[in-house]
Symmetry: none
Subunit: 222 residues, 4 copies
């Protein structure tokens, strides 16, 4: 009742199934399922069993590969940070036109949030828990977040040329840019009910990106 035969049967049914018992693949499937589960339900609401089922694995395997729910969660957290960092690093902005570059950065940031709801949700959840888990990750602390460097260079060029105000602080500009995009998405459910409009409609989203761009430009304009 234990053991090989059932697997043998599966082998026949799904003949060319790539690398069954491929630890890397199993691990990746679990991680992906966990990201989705933590995004949807938060840390406490997430269920090991749902993750293992969605990842076509077993509870036991999660402990085998990750050790604990918290360790799995932290790895998920790290992975979304790593991905964001990679996406930021891949940004190739032309500093010749700092205003255009800034607009591109605003668009990129907004686009990233839109494309990665799990990033928004996981951060929201982690803040809800007052950074309880993120502080345990050594990896997250070591990660570079290229966006500040990029923004700094944009602002430096813009200020030097006089197209931007001279007293801009890179962290303030970053916060403004991030806040306007993030808040709209992270709070879309309560805001939609409060404002009486569906913020998720493509048209509404397009208009908000335009507004964010306008506000950020107004904020930095000399």
């Amino acid at each position: 009742m234990i053991g090989g035969p059932p697997n043998a049967v599966l082998e026949i049914i799904t003949p060319a199934m790539p690398a069954r018992r491929d630890p890397e693949l199993t691990r990746a499937r679990i991680l992906r399922a966990a990201r989705n589960e933590f995004m949807r339900h938060g840390y406490s609401g997430a269920r090991i069993e749902r993750i293992s089922r969605a990842g076509r694995s077993s509870d036991r395997m999660i402990y085998y590969y990750f050790g604990s729910k918290e360790a799995l969660y932290i790895e998920v957290l790290e992975s979304v940070y790593v991905e964001l960092g990679a996406a930021e690093a891949a940004l190739a902005l032309d500093l010749a036109d700092p205003e255009a570059a800034l607009v591109r950065l605003v668009e990129f940031t907004w686009g990233y949030y839109v494309a990665h709801p799990e990033f928004v949700a996981l951060l929201a959840n982690e803040n809800l828990l007052r950074g309880k888990h993120i502080t345990k990750s050594v990896k997250v602390k070591q990660l570079s977040r290229p966006v500040l460097d990029i923004l700094e260079r944009i602002l430096a060029v813009g200020m030097e040329r006089g197209v931007f105000r001279a007293d801009l602080d890179v962290r303030n500009v970053y916060l403004t840019m991030a806040a306007l995009g993030y808040f709209y998405l992270s709070n879309r459910y309560t805001l939609s009910s409060f404002l009486g409009i569906d913020l998720l409609q493509p048209e509404a989203r397009r208009r908000w990106l335009a507004e964010v761009t306008r506000v950020v430009r107004a904020a930095v304009r000399a």
Copy 2:
């Protein structure tokens, strides 16, 4: 973990040991404890037993008064919305100077978020759950949120006088104002680690309010 000091403090607030058979008080104590618990741990992470202990009551009484964890949560949610609405309604702004009135509104909004971390946390949690519970509250739907009316009047006067741009949308301005304040506070843990500064320091908070005010003014300026 058990003990005197916390009770001693409450003892002072409710002088002669709260009449044990005071249903309104019992109910209120539970509600207050629940608000705190849901703020700290989110819906799933909140524990009925911790709430009943903190409210100096029993698990059983929570079900006696509220029926279920979810119903209690919804009532907490309703109560924070009611309180915000009352605070907004109590705002008496002088429309003679629309710019000053707008700044006052920005300060009020920011001040409210700072003074009511439970509001920020509960909304964040509710959005994490995709508005799962708030949609079940009929009360929240019926509540008026006076802030939009107030802001609308400010903008109307300002636009009429030409001190504000003519194409302002009240919801966009509200979102900008709310986003800049809310995001800073709701994401303070991940942001602090990312930016390498403690955003909760009074000095940092003061500077951010100044920046928010500056950005909002820049965004509406004619």
Copy 3:
């Protein structure tokens, strides 16, 4: 919040409501509701709260009037026995024709079970509990069950005249008569599924009464 005013209001709404606060009536309503609840759910499955609601009273009143769930149950049990005894005592059978009288008694017994499903259900439940509660009732023990006397007289006349076998035992005949009627009704759900017919259909019931009558007559025939 406590007290008279709400009742006063009800007085106006239901003007001629007979004897509100009539203890006898309230007691009777509870008892009737309890009988129904115990019939439907058995002793353990019965809920005090459902009884009080169905009896338009409160949990508290049940304890006020009856003392405990078990005492209420016993009183229900007693009441169904009392009613059956009264119905039996009201039977006026013409002993001139013992065969006809026996048939009449079979019909009466069957008719009583059909008309009083609560009797069948309560007995079934009490037997399930191995007579746990009925042994606590002094009243049930003191009750006379006239049916045995009646049957005895019928059999005596019949045997004397030679229309019945001479070796009949009154208790055996009673058991046969009761068993054939009771079993069909008490086990109708499992039997219906097993036999593949709906035993509750009027036509099926009518046929079964005919069969019971036939079997009893065959059993006593000389």
Copy 4:
């Protein structure tokens, strides 16, 4: 209430202390304990904790193997039906003498009820709940109950030979046979108190079987 004797007995049955990691055995022990508990207390009165203790397992394992109290109950129900079906199927009756075969079937049926009080109790309880759970079992519906076929063949031979009445209905005869045995046992507690004799005494039981046999024969006699 805790202690040696009962365990000592089991120890003998399962000699060397049951290999703790034997899922089939664990499952079987739970099922057996559950059957006993449901028989004794009905569905509502049964306690998961008592079952797990009696089955020398844990509450948790019940959910591991069966999923819920109701699912466990249904499986118990199915198991008693399966066992009865197997016992019926094992009956080898000589149809050469239909009268003798019928008597044998009556004796078998009665003997089965006597030997399996859990069967009687579980059916009584299930009917009390109006077949609430049994209707959820697909297995029970698919089970064959060989007894009707057997009885049909007996009656066919007997009717053909003219020793039985020509108008017999197999279901009616089955009901008569089952009712007379089942009712005596299922209602023994209330009947004992009503008739003033202990129906469980071996002598009383023997006499009743004789009476049942006599009545059934009288009912089918040509």
